[in-house]
Symmetry: C2
């Protein structure tokens, strides 16, 4: 893949945009923080600020900027709007971690756990921290709309950006719902899972941000090829994440290696392993997934089944196929050549990352 | 007050608008429901629809329409945007009931309790229902923005409506946060409480909706008098609600009479009763409020102290003062005489309602 790049430096491309995004996030949150009139709420708003600013690779707002520049957008003001999608990401993660009962996020405590430290040793501490985290997420989703409203772009472009943001949050919400449902004990099929990844990951990670940027640039066409690129690469990204979740180290995953299994996550690896194994193994996998607390021994056994049944290889094959198909779609999109080069590279990058 | 009305029928004024609002809510939710592509999510979206459609007096969207008509707005299309504030209300209530652990709302089961019935007897049922309710609230806040985007009003007016909606959700979020904080055991002062009511109730119930309507009508001035009317009447509404919460019947309150006390709600009645009573009574009140489960005997004793210390009379006096001051402010606003008549009547109506 590097031969196509011909002097183009994708890491620098990302870095330049990431710096602008970080500046704009800082400006936005300083403004919001200064407007808070309640001493008690300053701590919460400050936590939302830190949570957003300290974490994340800014993949999503980089894609907003890329979608914009792909279709001729030149203004620096795109970054004021692009941060909206990074703030939405905080909203998703804060609520997601309450639902998943996750204690960690990006190597730090999750939002509701961090709130426990802030409120100190009060009666009903856990519930109060979770309640404040629900409020924190609700504020973050509001801020994501607010950021677009404050961006220095024309009203017509704001309308388009908001239309896309509304769509992103709705589809991701449907994905979240499907995800929670899958915890009620019904077994996902592979096609259920792909649908779930499309809604819960691909939309707000790749397709939505690219589309938001394109719309702000004034591109009003259906953009099917770009959207399919976003969907396929987004699904591949999630499938890759699930592979790391089972076979990566604690550092690569950002939380204890057994977390996905203990959360009962029905990944493609698990679904395929159950489909491909005998009844005894199938029962073992399902029992382990629903146990909530897997032993070291069973965790190793589970990984071995996933490898021996060819489920790991199948996952990797599918990831690769989605990436190649996505790039093929992208090659048909008429747009800025440098941004196209970046997005070609980016598809491979997303599924080569260890964390 | 009726002498001022001179043939004007405020009940009919409300009824006409309520009918339009109900029609538009139905249209909006039918559209949204038909767009859902996941069978599993249809149940959740259907529940959000029923929850919104079956409940509520539509006070907030009636005020959006009133604010619009006050400043010369004539189009029927206002109702497409006005429903956004009713959908936000569902968002607030759904999340609020999770935080307050309320089982009932408007005489029905609360959203998360209703979800328990829908998901049936699964493992970890309560947590899964609460998680789906978090998602349900998140979808509702998204729908409230979506409703404005789909309204048949010009883009310029949508921008103004969204700016106001962003502000409403932010301020109400700060109010929610303050409310949760007040459950950590720190005692609110009367001024803390007024600040809380301003944020958590007055903004999204009265001031915000009126302002949204005015903005959509194209009124761009500071509108101080109208805003102060909204703030004062909104606080009075909440204070009145708290009086009913302590002295009303189960039917008037919509939930068991002891609910507010069991939730440890620091109302003006409680704060003033503590301020006005001797140390022994003060300790009794605080102990009762933090007990989580008050006996019939202690509940009666609590009500007697609130009456004997003059706290009930003080609350009623303050409610009245806020209403009178609010009407005085309103009288200075230049606007449609019929709508002004309605808003004058409405201020009194809000604090005379039994439920």
């Amino acid at each position: 893949m590097s031969s196509d790049l011909a002097g183009f430096d994708p890491i620098r491309f990302m870095e330049e945009r990431r710096n602008r995004i970080n500046e704009h996030l800082k400006i936005y949150f300083d403004e919001i923080y200064s407007e808070v009139k309640d001493r008690e709420m300053e701590k919460i708003v400050d936590l939302i600020r830190n949570y957003t600013i300290r974490g994340g690779k800014r993949v999503r707002p980089i894609l907003v900027a890329s979608g914009y520049q792909m279709f001729g957008g030149k203004s620096e003001d795109i970054y004021g709007a692009a941060i909206s999608i990074e703030i939405s990401q905080s909203f998703f993660l804060i609520h997601d971690d309450i639902m998943d009962r996750s204690d960690l996020r990006r190597g730090f405590k999750s939002f509701h756990r961090e709130l426990e430290d802030i409120i100190g040793n009060v009666r009903d501490r856990e519930h109060i921290a979770e309640s404040l985290a629900i409020v924190g997420g609700d504020l973050a989703v509001d801020y994501s709309f607010d950021a677009i409203m404050r961006a220095k772009i024309e009203d017509q472009r704001k309308i388009k950006a908001i239309r896309e943001l509304v769509d992103i949050i709705k589809i991701t919400g449907y994905g979240e719902g499907l995800d929670v449902y899958s915890g009620t004990g019904y077994r996902l099929s592979t096609s259920d899972l792909i649908r779930l990844h499309l809604r819960k990951t691909a939309k707000y990670t790749i397709e939505g941000p690219l589309l938001m940027g394109a719309r702000i640039a004034g591109e009003d066409g259906p953009l099917w090829d770009l959207r399919v690129y976003g969907s396929l690469v987004g699904i591949a990204f999630q499938l890759h994440d699930d592979v790391i979740g089972l076979f990566g180290t604690e550092k690569e995953i950002g939380k204890p290696p057994k977390s996905d299994v203990n959360e009962g996550k029905q990944t493609l690896l698990m679904i395929e392993a159950m489909r491909r194994s005998n009844e005894k193994e199938r029962e073992f996998i399902w029992k382990t997934l629903t146990s909530g607390n897997v032993s070291d021994h069973d965790f190793e056994k589970l990984r071995r089944i996933v490898e021996d049944t060819g489920s790991l290889d199948y996952s990797r094959w599918l990831i690769n196929r989605f990436i190649e198909k996505g790039k093929e779609k992208l090659s048909r999109v008429q747009g800025d050549p440098e941004v196209k080069k970046f997005l070609m590279w980016f598809a491979d990058y997303l599924v080569s990352r260890k964390n």
